[in-house]
């Protein structure tokens, strides 16, 4: 199978990689680019553990072919924290104990980032609806939803750079 050279912007950096057509973005992020923060939970778009932001839109990286991201911009969990430290979403996840095992956490952080970019003032119901594509088996979602709503408040008070 012929390989393709793909150039994309990943977490703000210009990146070039070579992949086969049947490799997913998830596989290339993890196995080719070493960005193992993006997790594989189901490989079929049903759990959200592999969420990334693709040109501003939240997607499951297991359902994107790596060749499709040519010329596009991808944000993974590794790209959420700023140069000065954790993003408020990350900080609130820690303060609210919104993670237990931590495997779904990268997907939730990325999804929450996309939510607050899209809707800076979500209600609890809106947050739950947005996060419904991210499965967590440890927390019962209570502390996750609280952390996301708390992060929204922080961001409203002082928008992150």
């Amino acid at each position: 199978m012929s390989k393709t050279l793909v150039q994309a912007r990943i977490n703000g950096e210009e990146v070039a990689f070579v992949c086969e057509p049947n490799q997913t973005l998830l596989e290339v992020l993890r196995n080719t680019l070493g960005l193992t923060g993006t997790k594989e939970g189901c490989s079929n778009g049903n759990c959200g553990a592999c969420n990334v932001i693709l040109d501003g839109v939240l997607v499951n990286s297991c359902l994107v072919l790596a060749v499709e991201v040519a010329g596009k911009s991808v944000t993974t969990v590794e790209g959420i924290a700023g140069p000065n430290g954790l993003h408020p979403i990350q900080q609130k996840f820690l303060e609210h104990a919104a993670l237990q095992c931590g495997i779904c956490t990268p997907g939730f952080i990325v999804a929450a980032k996309a939510l607050l970019d899209h809707n800076p003032h979500p209600t609890e119901e809106e947050a739950r609806r947005w996060l419904a594509g991210n499965l967590c088996r440890c927390t019962g979602y209570d502390k996750i939803v609280r952390a996301v709503l708390a992060a929204a408040e922080v961001l409203q008070a002082a928008p992150a750079t």
């Binding site: 049947n22 193992t36 939970g41 189901c42 237990q100 088996r137 927390t139 209570d142």
Partner: protein, 766 residues
């Protein structure tokens, strides 16, 4: 916060009871934490497993030649590549393991016993290539009759899974082969007489389906079988030492040849106590010329071929007198073990009547093999099935007697000195306290929560109800070992062997900090490989914060003693004269901090290090009482949870946020089991819903906030009063939900899950 904290006695602690940020937190929110599938080794190959399309079949032949010939394929293995362990039950830590079952479960030999049973495996240079190679393996099967239902499997004419299996009845083996592996009975008093004299008797049969732990991280294993015979294993496991032993037995190598490094673990709930992939990856590594091999299951494999928990059939009969005292209880319980013996039915038998004081009891428990995956442990194994049955019957008894359901439970609740159904006497327990906390909670006196399905409140088809239920879990102590070494800046490095599955690095470090008198931030915990710390039992049984916490406490005391000696040396006094208060050492007007003492350690006698290993059996069981409000759309059968409160005796909450999290997580899993989760098989034993799309665990939109009440009845068997907390909360939800559905609709649901289709049927709508 969502929870509240009700303490019976509240000593003053500096660290215990606070809510610091967990030490591994930043790595987990930034994606830097290394989970099992994140391990990357030079020259690593990727392994995939070929699985049986049949639920029961004899393997006539396997031809791997075409797969071996595919360029990029480096090794192909089948059951023939493995030694055949004896049919022995080996001691493994506190428990036991039938090694032959385990080996044959990892890869089939002559027979496949369930859909998804591993038959062969391939290692190749890419995951896609390994998958292509699987398609080239030719397996010839002779299909055999399939038995899936626990009651059918018990019939004398049922197809047999194991021709050599005999029923064990406390040491006595049946003459005829059977699918019933084990029968246990608990009996006390005279149930027949008591039922005859009871004022009310309720009897019902309950069924539950097989369900899965549903951890988000699939099983994985990365293994290098090196040219010198040393085997290095990286994997996600709750039980590094036990899995090391299992791998050693299955490969027939000495345990010392294996070093197992537990990676961060993405959930387990009992499902990551046994090996599945690691022995296969090891054999592939060896056969591929000592190259590292990584194997990761996909979701379909996780659901079809790991260790879900048993479906069951439970018949419960209970009677009470006019005053509302339960006088007799009887249970007949049959649990599906899956393909090999070992269902949690005995645990279910321990749970079923545990919260109550009952003079006359008989419980029969049957462990039954069926053509489904080998049952593993799932959070309070066997407990949810059992409590669903007993708590439904208790609700019905209370109703018939006209007594408030919580009042009825308190009236009959077990206390210190009462006898458990299986005989032994309870020590200090907090069931009554938990039930009273639930009763006193505003939720219990509030009007029913408003509808979500029908915000206008106009649709008469949507009915609301409230239910309560209680739950119990044994908890466990187990063995833990750990090391602590003082750094020259006064911080402590803590080396432990309990994989951190939900924040235990924090709760262990907090206990060391409290014991020694340093800040939480001054303890640096690390979970290390099996060569680097002494034996530790599994992270399971709600034992780590109790058991490893006990060791952390002892390490703190040991370090403190050494520091006293150093201070005594500096001041030329005897160590007994040195006083310690919150990290400050003093004597006769001398004062010195831990930091100052640590800085002087090399001039006062050298490194300050402590190691310890300890096991306590005084872990103290846990009790919880839950309240749920829900609504039922009687036209569609759909249930929406509106409000939920869980009260539990937690002994002492070391890190209350993570204790609340355990309760909330257990409740969420219990609600999933109650409403929608189940294995769906066709008549031939093919699993139809092996995906997160159709195996429906709750989403954020399916649950409300979950209120918690942490009742603290300190466990006298632990220096800070800790009891295990993780398992109890999954026990009550199914019963509580069933009781609420009854109060909403007037229909008793006796089958789990209480899915919309089943509710419609029970309502007579279809």
């Amino acid at each position: 916060m969502s929870g509240e904290n009700q303490s019976v006695e509240q000593p003053t602690y500096r660290v215990v009871g606070t809510r610091p940020i967990r030490p591994d937190g930043v790595d987990k929110v930034t994606g830097r934490a290394i989970f099992g599938a994140d391990v990357r080794l030079s020259g690593m190959l990727y392994g995939r497993v070929l699985r049986s399309p049949h639920a029961h079949a004899r393997i006539k032949s396997i031809d791997t030649s075409a797969a071996e010939a595919l360029p990029g394929v480096k090794a192909v293995i089948t059951g023939r590549d493995f030694p055949d362990p004896q049919n022995k039950v080996a001691a493994s830590g506190e428990g036991t393991v039938n090694l032959r079952s385990l080996a044959h479960n990892c890869i089939a030999r002559d027979k496949v016993l369930y859909f998804g049973h591993a038959v062969a495996a391939v290692a190749a240079t890419t995951p896609n290539l390994a998958e292509e190679a699987l398609k080239l393996i030719r397996v010839e099967y002779e299909p055999l009759p399939v038995v899936l239902d626990v009651l059918e499997a018990m019939r004398p004419d049922a197809p047999l899974l194991h021709e050599d299996l005999r029923t064990n009845e406390m040491g006595q083996r049946s003459e005829r082969p059977s699918n019933v592996a084990n029968h246990t009975r608990h009996e006390r008093g005279d149930v027949e007489k008591a039922f005859a004299e009871a004022a009310v008797v309720v009897e019902r049969e309950f069924r539950t389906s097989m369900v899965h732990q549903g951890y988000i991280e699939p099983q994985n294993g990365t293994v290098l079988w090196n040219a010198d015979g040393q085997i290095s294993v990286w994997c996600s496991t709750q039980a590094p030492f036990d899995e090391r032993s299992q791998i050693a037995e299955i490969l027939d190598v000495p345990v010392s040849k294996i070093k197992l490094t537990p990676a961060e673990i993405g959930g387990g709930f009992g499902g990551k106590l046994s090996v599945y992939l690691e022995p296969l990856a090891a054999m592939l590594s060896k056969k591929a010329g000592h190259k590292p091999v990584q194997m990761v299951m996909n979701r379909a494999e996780v659901l079809a071929a790991t260790g879900p928990t048993s479906g069951s059939c439970i018949r419960v009969k209970m009677g009470a007198d006019r005053n509302g005292c339960i006088v007799a209880a009887q249970a007949w319980m049959a649990y599906e073990a899956g393909a090999f013996p070992g269902s949690p039915v005995d645990a279910g038998a321990g749970v079923i009547f545990a919260p109550y004081r009952i003079p006359n009891v008989r419980i029969d428990a049957y462990d039954v093999v069926v053509n489904k995956p080998r049952a593993g442990a799932y959070r309070a194994p066997g407990g949810t099935n059992a409590a669903f049955a007993s708590e439904s019957v208790i609700d019905e008894l209370a109703e018939q007697l006209g007594i408030d359901p919580l009042e009825f439970r308190i009236l009959n609740g077990a206390k210190e000195g009462d006898r458990r159904a299986d005989g032994p006497v309870y020590r200090r327990i907090g069931f009554i306290e938990a039930a009273q906390a639930a009763q006193a909670h505003p939720h219990y006196s509030a009007p029913l929560a408003p509808s979500r399905l029908d915000p206008t409140g106009k649709n008469p088809a949507i009915k609301r109800g409230r239910g309560v239920a209680a739950g119990f879990w044994f908890n466990w102590g187990g063995k833990s070992s750990a090391w602590a070494s003082l750094n020259p800046d006064g911080t402590v490095s803590l080396i432990e062997g309990s994989p951190d599955i939900g924040g235990s690095r924090a709760s262990i470090a907090m206990q060391l900090a409290e014991s020694l008198g340093v800040r939480f931030e001054d303890v640096k915990p690390a979970v290390v490989d099996t060569d680097s710390v002494g034996y530790n039992d599994a992270t399971g049984g709600s034992r780590v914060t109790f058991g490893t916490g006990w060791v952390a406490y002892r390490l703190g005391q040991k370090l403190k003693q050494q520091l006293k000696e150093r201070a005594a040396l500096l001041w030329d006094v005897s160590p007994e004269q040195v006083q310690v208060e919150a990290g400050m050492f003093s004597c006769n007007g001398h004062r010195i901090t831990i930091q100052e003492l640590a800085a002087k350690m090399h001039e006062t006698g050298g490194p300050i290090v402590a190691g310890d290993t300890f096991e306590s059996e005084e872990y103290g069981p846990g009790f919880g009482v839950h309240i749920v409000d829900l609504e039922v759309d009687t036209e569609t059968g759909k249930v929406q949870i509106l409000r939920y409160t869980a009260a539990q005796d937690v002994g002492r909450a070391i890190h209350p946020s993570y204790v609340e999290g355990q309760l909330q997580g257990g409740v969420a899993q219990g609600i999933g089991w109650a409403l929608n989760e189940e294995y769906v098989y066709d008549a031939d034993g093919h699993l139809l819903n092996a995906s997160f799309l159709d195996y429906r665990i709750p989403t954020a939109l399916d649950l409300p906030m979950i209120d918690t009440v942490l009742v603290e009845v300190p466990n006298p068997g632990h220096p800070y009063g800790v009891r295990g907390v993780g398992e109890t909360p999954i026990v009550p939800p199914a019963g509580a939900v069933a009781n609420a559905i009854y109060h909403a609709t007037g229909v008793r649901m006796t089958t789990l899950p209480m899915s919309p289709a089943r509710i419609l049927e029970a309502l007579g709508k279809v």
